[in-house]
Amino acid sequence: MFSEYSLTELSSIFLMQGFAGLILFSVFLLMALGLAIIFGQMGVINMAHGEFMILGAYVTYFTSQFFLNFIPGLFGIYFFIAMILAFFVTGALGMAVEWLMIRRLYKRPLDTLLATWGLSLILQQLYRTVFGPREVGVELPSWMMGSLPVTEVVEVQINGLFVMGLTIAITVAVAVLMYKSSWGKQVRAVVQNRVMAGAVGINTEKVDRYTFGLGCGIAGVAGSAFTMIGSTGPTSGQLYIVDTFLVVVFGGAQSLLGTIASAFTISQAQSTMEFFLSGSMAKVLTLLGVVIILMLRPQGLFVIKVRR
């Protein structure tokens, strides 16, 4: 298929395709980060992850409406405020859910799966009842739209850059929080030995609640960012759930590095195959590849080897 293109065109293709892969990588990573914290650190299967993301998207929508109607002069920066709001609103909902539901289920991971699926149904219907069944269109400030031309053919999407920057910032923040801060140590202590952590004076309930809240909050930010590239409707969250879980599981649940590596692998595979094959087949092959690799290497890409 390349014979008809010149060398410069070909290099442009690869550049653009590489960039598309990086955007997809950022999107996957952003989706998966919140879940990686909740699933990886707490062992909770949060099937309502997508719905938390959509809550973030709705928060963004309403923030944009508010700015449009009341302070149109500041519309250009509403997105940052929306993301902060999204973080706190979804985080708060997450903490409420943890308190009402999840904390009773830490010893029963499969049951958290069922309960959070129930939660996702309730949230979907809630969105439908409150926000209406139709998708809402989130208007973006004009500076976030469009692309920067690098060469004649190569163009760089601004929102892609934005998502990438956001992803890097959040990943770094999470890494610092988890591996450098004392709070991160507490989280890991609770994960490894709840009883012992309690015994040495860590408030395990509080750690659980804030960890879950943090994971949900990050989901909210992701949802907020995805208003740039995807749809916002009551059932939009469902579109993300399988991909997200596969990224986290494929990475090896306990490691942030694993999640990054797996998001990278899956996104590059999918983006490359999409270029050469039809979209449906690319999707099937990517999923199948992940499943087969998981069957051969169930512990995921990265794993801390432990004595059983």
Partner: protein, 392 residues
Amino acid sequence: MTIPAPKSARTFFLRPQDMIGIALLALLLLVVLPLALDNFRLQFVGKYLTYAFVALGLVLCWGYAGILSLGQGVFFGLGGYCMAMYLKLEASSPENTKIQSTPGIPDFMDWNQITSLPWFWEPFRSFGFTTLAVIVVPAIFAFIVGFAMFKRRVGGVYFAIITQALAAILTILIIGQQGYTGGINGITDLRSLHGWDIRTDSAKTILYFICVGLLLACILLAYFVKSSKLGRILVAMRDKEDRVRFSGYDVSSFKIFVFCLAASLSAIGGAMFTLQVGFMSPSFVGIVPSIEMVIYTAVGGRLSILGAIYGTLLVNWAKTSFSESFPELWLFGLGGLFIAVVLIFPNGIAGLWQSYVAPRLGPLFGGAPTRRAAPPSASPPASGPIAPAAAE
């Protein structure tokens, strides 16, 4: 030395209370419902009962063996599609399809420029092969998946997520390969089975009774498995997998067996679904139906064979009547049910029955049942392959 025969050491595989339970269910399904409901409602029950096959499989697979599969829709679908392929071929006789450019092949193939029947459709001209395929094809598929995963000790949450991904993959494949599968519309307009028109009311009533008959047979099979040593090994495995392994059992082969069994049961349900409803589509294969089928089992009581049947009937009945009168509320109800069944009554209807009803009925039947439902902590601990457990 006299050996006091333990109570549990019975010779027949059904305990008296099981026999009463099955008899009551048979009475309900074979006599009470057909008399009480009109034809239209009875066919609803018939459709619900096809899901009960899946729930039954999940009791063995999830309740007893602790393997939660979120991909049972795959097997339900495989069974249903096998049957649908047979019926479609019968409905696509050259006389019925003479307006097509290639008469004698299913209509959707003709629309997709397929000019001859694909090879894998060919054997489905035979009813014998189809019947066999309904049971064997899903079992083979389950075997491959189970073999790959259980031999490597993938379990718990990982297994659940991978099976869920499989459901997603199969759905995309079926929709994408519409020339061979009918795509998103599924295989529709199925008319007759060996010349017997399955669309008439009388046929549907007969199919209802066949469905009930098969379900009762599968229930007996489930009881047989449950009360055999294999049933106890499954319970043992869910509790202390390592201990079973170090008692000389190849744990993975037992898991594979029960997973295949659950797959075949689901597939029988799928085939009966196709026969009764008259079509099969990818919307029964995907993630959402698969996880809904889990809730039937959970509501019935994940450890109770009969509970699964009642759970299926109850949830579906609620769905139908709720969504008729308050369509907006149904999802709240279903979502709430998921949460309630986990938080409030983890052993479902059967658990409620055990704790509240049976003790009062106990004197009537002579002795309370000993151990049908485990205490609330019964849910199996997920043993992910990398569950960090400190040694020493």
